[in-house]
Subunit: 263 residues, 2 copies
């Protein structure tokens, strides 16, 4: 039994598909309990294309106070937010939503912040660092903005699709005071090496950064969660690097989500 | 923390307005846990008129396996059921819904059964009894059908609105082999006396049956839950009657709901 679960429980559904591997129902609910708050995070499996009726219903449901949004809905959910954080606005997507006073939704995108927090929690020195970021998709874009906000001195963006790197560089060129460049997947001279691609989900994937180019002066972080130690992190640990993985990113985001949802 | 709450949790929302006093979230979830099943009953506050979009969304949500329906939605929810029990069909309303194999909904109305079970749990002899039922609305109609199914020998229906008594008598005239009649709120000769009206919600309400007409040969049951011992039950206990209250009805329905939802 939940410690607190009754007719007065406030709901914070997490919406995605697939949904059964998400950790927020247990982690966020435990966080509510620690704060002595009668809130519950419940999973809702909502297929791509079904977001509109589900958002309509959850908006009408009086005891739904917040939402967590995961794949494939992070971009589509943006449209249901009457107000958004600057990061969400830049990225055009949201990971969390809470009610405004009038019942409308305020959205924020916490994934990048969570990733950076996981790195610093594991010992990375992000401020004034020189970072190579591989992957300029949704995750990479969120991480890039968070890195700039955290004070990296230089950011090199690489994506196998060069147009994505360039688009991200253009997107964030006004967002910070760092030097932002598009470049190869070469970490030479970098203190921070981050993977924001799906490479590593399959054992047969090539490494996002060649193992031979890693050395112990680099901190290596990976967005991939739930697949054990990825080949990139294995190679990094062999090279003597400190590392952070996607599970630590998921852990790091919980407190942020609690603060946001109860904010 | 719920013992079981994660991304794989199956949801069984209870839909109503107001919702904060319902007991099913804790009771049904405890029942799922006892059966070692990863299911959770969560409250959803859905106003009258908002059922359609909420039903659409919950139907689309892959891990919603069942629904509990309470006021004011019991009649409106009937329309969303592709298949229904005979009792639900007769009454035109449902209290519980579960998925058919094709994802559509099967509805049943368990309130009457729950009421009758509460009476027998508290010692009433329903089979072959002679019952006075005061109140021929939704609750009274459900109870009348359940009493016939449980084998009462004679049923006298009273409602302040005589057209409702007559309508209920006509509705159930084919549903059992008992003698069914419309009559005054006089329990003389009855072994069972049941209140299915809202009288007793307010302390100033008149009794549904005059206290002077009760004697210790009668078993007296009341649908009203959550308002302590109602004036009718106080009078009945003073007269030496055995009694059952609405809370016992709510308790009685939990196992039925579990059987139905996991059936």
């Amino acid at each position: 039994m939940p410690e607190k679960l009754d007719g007065a429980t406030r709901l914070f559904p997490i919406i995605g598909d697939p949904i059964k591997f998400v950790k927020s129902p247990q982690q966020l609910t435990r966080g509510f309990e620690k704060r002595d708050y009668n809130g519950l995070c419940v999973p809702m499996q909502v297929a791509n294309g079904d977001l509109a009726p589900v958002m309509q219903a959850l908006t009408l449901t009086g005891n739904v106070d917040g939402l967590l949004v995961t794949m494939p809905h992070k971009f589509a959910a943006f449209a249901y937010c009457a107000t958004r954080s600057e990061t969400a606005r830049l990225l055009g997507c949201v990971s969390v939503m809470r009610r405004n006073a009038d019942g409308s939704w305020h959205g924020d995108m916490l994934d990048g912040l969570a990733f950076v927090k996981a790195q610093t929690d594991q010992g990375a020195q992000v401020k004034d660092g020189r970072a190579l970021l591989v992957g300029a998709g949704a995750a990479g874009s969120a991480i890039a903005i968070a890195l700039l906000n955290a004070g990296v001195r230089e950011l090199i963006i690489h994506d196998a699709d060069a147009s994505r790197s360039t688009r991200l560089k253009d997107l964030i060129s006004d967002a910070g005071h760092a030097s932002v460049n598009v470049g190869p997947a070469d970490p030479a001279g970098c203190t921070l090496v981050f993977n924001a691609t799906p490479m590593g989900l399959a054992e047969s994937d090539p490494l996002p950064v060649s193992a031979a180019l890693l050395d112990s002066s680099m901190f290596v972080g990976d967005v991939i969660a739930g697949h054990g130690v990825t080949p990139l992190l294995k190679a990094a640990q062999s090279a003597g690097c400190k590392t952070a993985n996607g599970v630590q990113m998921v852990d790091a985001v919980q407190e942020m989500m609690l603060d946001f949802l109860r904010g």
